[in-house]
Point group: C2
Chain length 376, copies 2
């Protein structure tokens, strides 16, 4: 993987760059649709490419390890072959999912023992095992295995958690560096800055990670319950330290406004289930604000879903029709909302990139943040 930093905004820390992987290039800032179980819910691979314009998607180690299972993915020749997505893939390490199974997992120095949410079977994730699994999944970008500390953890808990995460990170790198990719294309490992909402922990974590010389670096453990302003503050603290010549990935964030604020603070990569999950619940994001499609006011609005038309669904279908589909719980409603929202998110980061390049990012961003907060 290679990262070329192409433009630095002069009035903020926003940047535009180009990531090159063996499965193609990614223009940053970028939003990555989440394909937890090897599929972005409700969206065909062809639609992801042609209608959503996704340049990279996510997979999830925890879910893919359980189903279809690593033996199947290895036989397939990796996830790209299995799900027919031939552009870049990033896999989350499963740390977040394992730690979400609060009653069903135990944490040791060695790793995390957990029970499957599907059949209760026992499993163990160690840093080494998670590296091996991600080698087998075959993502272009793989993530370190860490403890994702709750947003409201006290300092002592957060410090101990970070220390464990740092010891695990060393083991991740050791395993990663002593193993080869399985399918003939290269993979890279991103470490994850933890440290909860404590400035000194975040700084220490970022400094530790900065000297690892990784191909890219992630910021984790944010948007997990802490105040939004705290999140922005932590991003600033961390991005002062993380190398400027490597991409920075803010994990699991967020609303369109969160994304613009983070871009302004020097983040390059994003993923979030919000566009698909909220879409399935009837929330539609547009440049002029959000629409709750369940609202009766749309029942006879026969205008296009979004006149901006970032994807064909926006003008093919009307708001009244989408309202009907969502209200009667039809699959097509979920499909339309997912395509629309993903295409909107990707339009938004592409637009941010354009304005970074043209030099008016901060002005554009202020206007957008105001608009995006509207409820239509």
């Amino acid at each position: 993987m290679n990262f070329e930093l192409q433009y630095n905004d002069t009035k903020s820390n926003a940047r535009a760059g180009l990531i090159t992987t063996d499965h193609g290039v990614i223009e940053t800032p970028i939003f990555m649709p989440v394909g937890t179980q090897g599929t972005v819910k409700g969206v065909h691979m062809t639609e992801l490419k042609e209608d959503v314009n996704a340049q990279i998607i996510l997979g999830n180690t925890y879910h893919l390890y359980l189903r279809p299972g690593i033996h199947i993915l290895e036989q397939a020749g990796g996830l790209h072959k299995f799900n027919s997505w031939d552009r870049p893939i990033l896999t989350d390490s499963g740390g977040f999912q394992v730690f979400s199974l609060s009653d069903n997992r135990k944490l040791h120095e060695e790793g995390a023992e957990f029970r499957s949410h599907i059949d209760g079977s026992r499993h163990m994730f160690s840093p080494e095992k998670v590296m091996d699994i991600q080698r087998s999944i075959g993502a272009d970008i793989i993530m370190a295995f860490d403890e994702c500390c709750p947003g409201d953890a006290n300092y002592e808990y957060a410090r101990k958690s970070l220390e464990l995460t740092e010891r695990w990170l060393n083991r991740c790198f050791e395993r990663f560096n002593s193993t080869d990719p399985k399918y003939g294309y290269s993979q890279c490992l991103f470490p994850i800055v933890q440290g909860c909402v404590y400035t000194d922990l975040r700084r220490r974590a970022a400094e530790n990670i900065a000297q690892k010389g990784a191909d890219g670096n992630a910021i984790g453990g944010l948007a997990v319950g802490e105040p939004t302003e705290k999140m922005y503050e932590m991003i600033e603290v961390v991005n002062e330290i993380l190398p400027k010549d490597k991409p920075r990935y803010l994990m699991g964030v967020g609303t369109p406004v969160n994304i613009l604020e983070a871009i302004e603070r020097g983040v390059d990569m994003f993923d979030c289930i919000m566009p698909t999950r909220n879409g399935r619940n009837g929330q539609i994001f547009t440049r002029f604000g959000t629409l709750n499609m369940r609202n009766k006011k749309w029942e006879n609005d026969f205008s296009p879903i979004d006149p901006d038309a970032n994807s064909y669904v926006d003008t093919l279908y009307s708001r009244a029709y989408l309202h009907h589909l969502i209200k009667v719980n039809e699959l097509l409603g979920l499909q339309i909302a997912s395509i629309h929202n993903l295409a909107f998110y990707i339009w938004l980061v592409k637009e941010a990139r354009k304005h970074i390049i043209s030099g008016d990012f901060t002005t554009w961003k202020s206007g957008m943040v105001r608009q995006l907060s509207n409820r239509l």
Copy 2:
């Protein structure tokens, strides 16, 4: 609407024809995907056109009357405008749905009183009202309101039911003929032959309907619990009497084999929820038989879903991937299976048409019936 009978098979009663409506032409024999609530479940309108190659789809009067409601469809300018499907639409009259609400409906000479399955609200469908509703929905082909008699009804029940259906049919025609289409294109009314499994009732019903001079005629009340051979026998009885120069529509049927048998007996039009509903349950129809995608045997079969490739999903995705999606209950699994099965059904009737035209329909059909019965 106009029907041109283009070819008669010399060795059977199979026919090939051309239906012309104001929304385009339909080559028969044809299979019509079911869009109960104004959407074919899990399939975009673009996919229906380009990937499934649907020439006409169904809507359901009962469901559309309840949601979104006729006032919305009228404001939209009809169902075509509402759901963006600009090819022909046929609406089922809702008779079948109302009579399925066994505990929640009462039958009178005037019509059927029923309670909504959604909110328990009271409604009344009379032949006149159902004609008016279908005028408002704006389907190209609308269906008579009838009582759909259970497949195991005794003779006395079936006879009385048929008599009511015949009186209602007169009222349907009266109302239909005294009203105009609402949206500037023409609509036509198909009467429905009932009579359960009783030859003399079916014959009487067909004779009554034959002299109505309708643009097309339907056979209803089959595949509702009676033996399959009985169904074929009833089709033969009825098709001896129904006009040869008008299309014949067998309602709600059926498996691929049922369809070929009915084509051989002179049926031109079909609809069925089987390709979409069974698809959502993991059943895939192919030329070589059916596949149960839940079966573990597919978990590492990385070959295309169907090498015949009647639609792009067949070769883009593998059996192993579809198995995974269906097993983990992912939306994309339902979407792929629905597109595949619909494209297969439409390929099948198109192929039947080709063989009717080329004169080897019966030979081809015998081979297909054997293959289609396989379980792969």
